[in-house]
Every structure is written in C-alpha cells, then in structure tokens.
C-alpha cells in the first residue's frame, strides 16, 4: 500500500488544490471562474466596504449595473486589468453554459441615461441567447462565436434590431429600426421562449416574434454600452437538466440601495 502512497497523496493534493484554486483551469468552461476573495465582498454590508472593494464589485457588470460574479461571467478572452476603465464587455449567465439549460423567460426592467455632454452616444442594451463560444488556442480568434441578439437602442446612430451574428457577419431577422427608446424612461422587456420560437414584449406591447429550432438552448448574455443603464429588475427563468425550474438574477442589491 505504501508503494502507492506518493501517487495517492499527489492525487489528493491535486484534488484539494484544484478545488480551492480561484483560478482553476476548467477544461469545459470558457467563462472565467469567480475569485473567492472578491466573492466574499458581496456578503458584506455596503457601508463596510472600502473604496477598492466597492470598485471591484461595481466594475463587474454593465455600466450602471453591477452583476454578481457568481451568476455572471466574462469569457477568458475578454479578461481585462484594472486601468481605471470600466470596460464594455459581454456578460454570460454561468448557468446557461450547461448544455441542458433551457431558458423560458427573460425579463429586464431598465432605464437608460442621457448621453453625455461630449456627444458620445452608446445607449444600447443587447440581450443575447442561443449563444455559442468555442475558443481557439491562445491569441487566435475563437472557433465559434455566434448567437442571436435582441437589441434595444436609444442611441442616435445605432438602430434597435434583432439579428443573428457569427463572428463579424450578421443577418437581420426582424425589422426594428423604428423602435427608438427614450432616455430616462422606464422599460420592461420580456423575451418568452418556447422550444422553437421566441416572442418579444416591450412595456406589455408585442414587438415581434421569431421561429426556429432550439432557440431556448445555448448561453444567455447581456451587453451594454458606455452610457450607463440602470437595471431595476433582472429575471431569467429556466429549466435545468432534471426538469426543475430555476430563476436567476445576479443584480447586486446593495448597489441599488446606496449606489457606487
């Protein structure tokens, strides 16, 4: 038995270390695992957080709306460093990376801010679904980067749209050019999924629908522009592998109470 002790010991160490490592390399996931130290900040009362801790919470999410690191993540390829810039990144629902994830409904209640005085206008909210991502070897473009995007825009130079994108090629699926949001106005958008169709509602008004197979599978993602968006309600209902229904959100309540 002692002959195998080194191997057993090594395997035990590996299991222990990899399970506790914040940066464990998961062969399956393309999303960056959450950092345990930063995760602990979310459990602290807002007032007890120092400036850096608040920044670390605030920087993960859309501008204007932090998203909980346990629920939402960025892809490895979009990892950024702290340069006092809150970068624009797409955030993926971690649970939706599971192949058996089936989304039923996405509800987002939000308000877009006005454009800044410098005229830069990027007031866009993208809700993506049926997304797929397969990375290539380091530094190369991904093998797969595609999905559907439902876009709501208050920007002057970007139209609302529903399109399918693969890498940099996109095809428009529903004409939504005339749909222009008003800043500072509250909107509730609901995407309702059946297995082979999705319908879009905005403030209880039917915007349109689209039919195709397996629209309720794949990764769910949110992307916002440089101008902040305040999300007051974020709810994603889905079915898991065993058929049980689950709800996901990821909004960080303490930031809605006090702000950054």
């Amino acid at each position: 038995m002692f002959r195998f002790f080194p191997q057993l010991f090594a395997l035990a160490c590996t299991a222990l270390l990899l399970s506790s490592s914040a940066e464990a390399d998961s062969a399956q996931s393309v999303l960056i695992p959450p950092n345990k130290r930063i995760l602990s900040y979310y459990n602290k009362p807002f007032d007890s957080l120092n400036r850096k801790e608040r920044w670390l919470i605030g920087v993960h999410g859309l501008r204007g709306t932090p998203l909980h690191r346990r629920e939402w993540a960025v892809r490895q390829i979009e990892r950024t460093v702290n340069r006092q810039i809150v970068p624009i990144r797409t955030y993926y629902l971690r649970a939706s990376e599971n192949p058996s994830f089936r989304v039923k409904e996405i509800t987002v209640n939000f308000v877009m801010k006005r454009a800044g005085a410098n005229g830069y206008d990027d007031r866009v909210l993208d809700i993506s679904f049926a997304s797929e991502y397969v990375p290539a070897v380091a530094g190369r473009p991904p093998l797969v980067d595609r999905g559907y995007t439902f876009r709501l825009s208050a920007a002057n130079n970007i139209a609302s749209a529903f399109f399918y994108r693969s890498d940099l090629t996109k095809v428009s699926l529903l004409p939504l050019d005339s749909l222009k949001l008003i800043p500072e106005k509250e909107y509730t958008v609901v995407l309702k999924f059946e297995t082979d169709s999705v319908s879009f509602m905005l403030n209880n008004k039917n915007i349109g629908s689209y039919s195709s197979r397996e629209l309720n599978t794949g990764m769910i993602a949110l992307t916002g522009g440089w101008i902040p968006i305040t999300i007051n309600e974020l709810k994603i209902s889905a079915l898991g592998a065993d058929g049980t229904e689950a709800e996901y959100s990821g909004l960080v309540p303490q930031f809605h109470r006090g702000g950054t």
Partner: protein, 728 residues
C-alpha cells in the same frame, strides 16, 4: 573748582554694558523661542524636545559668539590692522570649515566651528568699513559659514533627519518616454537576437490603443495579430512586429522614444497610431498646462541637462541645499495653505494642436529618411466610427496625417472603414480602446495596406527592395466563411482551392460546417481544384452557417515525419527546442513555423491533433516554482486521453530552465512512459524534450535530455508551408 562728579559720566560704560547685556538676553530669548517653536527637519520618531534643547543651546552659543565678535574686537581692528585681521579671519575660517567638511569630526566639534566662524563674521560686520577688499573677505566668510553648516549637517545621524532633507529629489523626474523599455521592454515579443538576414522589423508606436489597454493579454493586440498574419501568410519571408505602444503617448513621445531608444533597433517600418492623446487638453504627460507637448519636452530636456551639470549636481546633493529647499517649501505651503495649491490659470489647450501635430509627423518622416525606415501612419479609430469620408472632413488631425502622407507618398492605414462596417457590433472596450475583435480588424487593415495591396508605390518599392515578393499566392492556414444558410441550402458550396507549397504527398481538404459536421475531400494538390458540397448537406437550423476548410497532409510511411517508432506520423512540421538553465535557458516549439509554446519555466506541454495537425492546447507547468504545478502536470498528462477521446494526439513536452525540482520522479517518469518516453527525467537544470503519443510503448517516442541544448525536428522544413491554402 573741582569738576562735579556727574553720575551721567559714569553711566555710559555701565549703561552701554547693561544695554548690550539686555540686547544679548533678548536675542538669546528670541533664538530660544525660535528653537522651541520652529518646525525642525527631523524624522517623526526623533525626540523633539531633546533636539530643541540642543538647538536652543547651540543658538545661544552662536549668539554669544556673535556678540563677542561684534563687541570685543574693537581694540584689535584699527585702521592699520583691520584689513590684515579681516583677511586672516577669512583664511582661518575657510581652513577650519574645509577641515570640518573633509574630516569626520563629532557633531559638537563641527557645531563649535560654526560658532567660531560666526564670531569672525560678526567681527567683520562690525568693522567692515575699515577693511579693504571687504566684499571678498565677506564672501569668504559667508562661504566658510556655509561649509561649516554643511559639515555640521553631515554629522547629524542620517535617520534623525526628515526624509526630504536626507535626499533631495532630482530637478526633474526622468521622462517616462523610455521607461517602459527599461522596465518592461516591448509588450510581449522581444527583439530577435539571431535574426534572419532578411528580417523585416516593424515597430508599432502609439498610445494605449496600440499597447492594448485594458486587455490582460498582449497577444490580443493588433501588433501580435499582425505578427500572426505575417507568419502564416508570407511563407519564406521573415517579419518581426514589436509593440512599443505606451499609454498616454502622443506624437511628441513617439518622436522622443524613437530618438532616445528605438532607433538603435534599426526598424524597417515604424507605424505611428496617434492623434487622440495629442488632441487631449492640458499637458498630462509633463504636467505643464498651457504649453504644448513639444515645448514641454524641450524644457524638460533642458532641465535634465542642467541637472546633469557637475557643479549643479554637487550643490543639489548638499545637505544645506536640502535644508534650504525644505524650509522654502514649508514656507510656501504655510503661506498658501487652504488655497488648494496654486491653481493654473493657463488655458486648456490640446497637447499638440493640428499644426504642431503635423510638424511632429514631418519629424517622423525626416527620421525615417535619416535612418532608412518606412513611416506608416495608422488612423486611430474611436468606438463605432463614422465613415472615413466624414472622419476626414471633421477630424483636423486626420487631415494633417493625409496631407503629410500624400506629400511623402507614405501609406495611411485606413482602420476607420472596416470598423465602420461593423460599427453596430462590439469591437471596443470603451470609446477609444479596441477589444480583441477590434484589434484583429485593425491588424487585417494593416496587413492589407502594407502587404496584400500596398497602399503607395513607395511602400511597394521599399518592401520589394527588402525581399518582399508581392507575386506570392495569397494563402491562409484556414479558409473561413460565414454564409447565409438559405443560400447554401439552395445552391450548395463550391470551393476552388489549392495548396501551392504541397509536395507530392497525398493531401485532403477537410471542410467543417458549424464546428460539427465534417467533409473530407481527397485530391488536394498544388493545382487549383473544385471541391463541392451539395445543397442538401446544408440543412442547418441557424441563419448563418460557419464553414472552415483546412488542409490535411498524409505523411504516413514517410520516415521523415515519424514520431520515433510509435507508429504515428505527424502531418505537420514540428520543431522543438529545450534549454536547461545553463544550456540555452529557453524553449521553442513551432508547428509549421508558428510558435505554440508558452515560453514558461518548467514543462511546456503542447497537444497536437495527429490527423489534422491542429494545435489543440498548449500549457506550461512551472514545476520549479511550486509542487502543486508538478501535481497538475501529472494530472494533465494522465487525463489527456479522456480530455480528447477518440483522437490520436501528438504530445510535445519541452523543458525550460529546470524539470527536476519539486516533481515526483517516479510518477512523472511513469507519465512520460505512457507517452512513449523511457521514464527517465532530466537532472537539475538540464534540457529535456519528449515528442510522443498517449498509449505508445515505452522507449518508442522521440526523446532527448542532457547538459546541452536539445533540438528536434519532425518533418521536413521544405514542407513547412504545405498546409497553406489559396482560394480562387
């Protein structure tokens, strides 16, 4: 009659002495109060009370010496003796002070010398009118006093002085222009040492967009992307693209970096991507609002040159200077306390206005002519850019770029148009910094305007003179398309391709649809041939279908491509080098000329598909740094077959620095045996190379180790580009 004794006649000597005494007491009291209340240049942990008592005692002693010098020397300084005495005093003072400066004397003795010189100085001041050459004598005495004070300050224990007095900061901080090179060097790739003779060195210069802010991985910047494109698409030619971008750089810093640091690397091409930082108001680089970058740079250089002047350096290094500086700064902050510092009333002007910017561009052109490199201007785009036409119309800096480029027949890389075409997609991290997708688009634009279709005659001629062959086929490692599914379902897909560098080995065209369904077509050769996929095979559920076509070369039974005696043959050229710490200290693993290793210390493991030649994964394990990494390496090798089920793999293991420390020798030896290795491990700091496959019999893999640089090639370098495809 006897004169009446007048007490007033008696009084003058008493009154005078009493008055002198009172003046002295008042002076001493004032000095004591000064010592008690004045801020002292001492470190916080020093006993302030004790220091003040010493200072008060010293000042009292100095005051007494001054009084004595002034009052008690009257009889000595007559009209005839004053000059001689004055000169003597000056000479003695200089001698004493010089001696104190040069000799390590106790603090008290040095302090006493000050008192002596104060005595002499007071005597001089009292009798100055009688002394000839009084100016010279006075200067000498003042100098002697200063030297004594310097000598005394030097005797004060270093750690009792405040930090600001211990060492004076330099007149100007070093210009950050080239600090990145001294500290970090170029971002990512380093300049080659044993460069090929026809190496074309491209240095990319610019601000944070060029550097790749805020991305963690420099490999995603446009510099590295361009390097990949050139490596892949220009077989037989050698390019080296170096990222010299630094956040906040403007055209001034670009010129300064070139002059002070980069020209020594003899670049062939220098790309300049700048305007946004130049247009920013207020000089953030030199912290000098109200003047342009270039003017600030010139001033900075002038101050730097002054700071290097030997005499100035000596004065600035003295403790007396430090003390004076500390006092003046303290006075300044006391006077201006509460005012929030001196606010600049200078107007907010851009770092370089368009005319100054133009001058900067022309300076780059001039440097290019002087040092024989080709300047290339790259338009710096903002997020979701407008069309190029509008950009040129409204952006004054773009106008200058085009004007200078046109005048000198230089290329301007148009990044605006391709980014404008995808303006509604996410290609930026914020309003100015591209993300990895944006960088890729910029790199494609640079490749196009420099190599694929050179933007100007001068560019073409310049590159042709350096061995660039514009008649080469336009090849890719992979042909990639994203096409409408409806159209494919109706018409199918025809691919007219060839592998222009393929020898007579049998080649196949592998076409993958949506990363799932694959088609394999025989007959790929160096001649164009049509490969068709029928419409019925494009029944996909998504609006777009992703097509990837790549070449697979069958090298079986060709001994040059054999992986030892494992029975496996590599479809790709594998070139691997391992260097232990004293034997080269490096690692390099390339597949068909493309580097794939992580260049990490310890074990660099690359996994290659043995059929198609795709690099599936590359990872390095710093076993020297931590035992946990050694354990992770073991697990990684053990799990290879389950990670890539039903695939034949080629595994390349190459050590950099050391492969012995921290590893479980028996377990790792067994793991390598499972790849076809002998089970032996390198000794400490030795080189080690293993090219094998999971499941191979022990001893059949390609393996070498030892106290030397180890280098192995699987395949023929003549076929390094065999897999490159050209589409008609």
């Amino acid at each position: 009659m006897e004169p009446k004794l007048n007490t007033r006649d008696l009084c003058p000597s008493f009154t005078g002495a009493a008055l002198d005494m009172i003046k002295l007491i008042i002076a001493i009291a004032a000095l004591a109060l000064t010592a008690a209340l004045a801020p002292l240049p001492l470190a916080p942990e020093v006993n302030q009370l004790q220091a003040r008592i010493y200072l008060a005692a010293f000042l009292a002693a100095a005051a007494c010496c001054a009084a004595l010098g002034s009052r008690a020397t009257g009889r000595l300084f007559t009209d005839h003796t004053a000059t001689k005495l004055g000169c003597l005093l000056a000479a003695l003072s200089m001698a004493i002070s010089y001696y104190c400066l040069k000799t390590p004397l106790p603090l008290a003795v040095a302090g006493a010398s000050i008192c002596l010189i104060v005595f002499a100085l007071a005597a001089f001041v009292r009798h100055e009118a009688k002394i000839a050459f009084s100016a010279a004598v006075g200067l000498l005495l003042v100098a002697a006093c200063a030297m004594s004070v310097e000598a005394t300050l030097r005797r004060v224990p270093e750690m009792t002085l405040a930090k600001e007095v211990r060492q004076t900061p330099p007149l100007v901080q070093p210009d950050q222009v080239n600090i990145v090179y001294k500290k970090n060097w170029f971002r990512g790739k380093r300049p080659c040492v044993d460069c090929p003779k026809d190496n074309i060195r491209i240095i990319t210069l610019g601000g944070s967009s060029t550097y790749g802010v805020p991305m963690y991985y420099g490999s995603l910047s446009y510099t590295q992307s361009l390097q990949r494109f050139l490596d892949e698409r220009r077989p037989g030619e050698h390019y080296e693209v170096l990222n010299a971008g630094v956040a906040a750089y403007g055209i001034t810093q670009v010129i300064a970096a070139l002059k002070e640091e980069l020209l020594k690397y003899n670049p062939t091409i220098v790309t300049v991507c700048s305007w946004f930082n130049d247009s920013a108001p207020n000089n953030r680089w030199y912290q000098t609002p109200g003047i342009s970058d270039w003017e600030a740079y010139e001033r900075h250089r002038a101050l730097q040159r002054l700071g290097e002047f030997p005499l100035y350096k000596k004065v600035r290094a003295s403790k007396l200077f430090a003390l004076s500086r500390w006092s003046l700064l303290g006075l300044k902050s006391a006077l201006f306390a509460g005012s929030g510092g001196r606010k600049s009333s200078a107007p907010a002007i851009p770092r370089m206005n368009p005319d100054e910017f133009r001058w900067g561009l022309e300076e780059v052109v001039r440097l290019g002519e002087e040092h024989n490199f080709l300047p290339v201007f790259v338009l710096e785009a903002m997020h979701r850019p407008d069309s190029l036409k509008n950009a040129k119309r409204f952006n004054e800096y773009f106008k200058q770029i085009y004007a200078v480029a046109e005048k000198n027949d230089l290329p301007v890389v148009d990044t605006i148009s391709p980014l404008h075409q995808v303006a509604d997609l996410w290609t930026f991290h914020d309003f100015i910094h591209p993300n990895s997708v944006g960088h890729r688009i910029i790199a494609e634009a640079m490749y196009h305007d420099l190599i694929a279709e050179p933007a100007t005659k001068r560019t073409r001629k310049f590159l042709e003179a350096r061995g660039v062959d514009f008649g080469k086929p336009d090849v890719r490692l992979e042909i990639e398309k994203h096409l409408l599914s409806d159209a494919l379902a109706k018409d199918g897909l025809d691919l007219n391709v060839r592998a222009p560098y393929l020898d007579n080995s049998p080649g196949r065209l592998e076409v993958t649809i949506n990363n799932s369904k694959s088609y394999s077509f025989d007959g790929l050769s160096a001649e164009f041939k049509k490969f068709s996929i029928p419409p019925a095979d494009f029944n996909t559920i998504r609006p777009l279908t992703d097509i990837r076509a790549s070449a697979v070369i069958d090298r079986s039974n060709n001994p040059q491509w054999a992986i030892g005696s494992t029975g496996l043959y590599s479809p790709v050229l594998i070139d691997a080098t391992s260097g232990g710490k004293n034997f080269g200290w490096r690692v390099l693993v390339t597949v068909d000329g493309q580097r794939i290793d992580s260049d990490g210390r310890g074990y660099n493991v690359s996994v290659i598909d043995a059929v198609q030649g795709d690099v599936l994964k590359q990872k390095h394990f710093d076993t020297f740094g931590a035992e946990a990494n050694a354990t992770a390496l073991l697990k990684y090798i053990e799990q290879l077959e389950t990670t890539y089920p039903a695939r034949k793999l080629i595994v390349v293991v190459a050590v950099k620095t050391d492969g012995r420390h921290n590893v479980n020798k028996a377990a790792l030896g067994n793991a390598f045996k499972s790849l076809g290795g002998s089970g032996e491990l390198p000794q400490a700091m030795e080189s080690f190379l293993l090219i094998g496959t999971p499941g191979a019999a022990p001893g059949t893999a390609v393996e070498e180790m030892g106290r030397k640089l180890v280098h192995k090639i699987i395949g023929s370098t003549a076929q390094e580009y065999a897999r490159l495809l050209e589409e008609k």
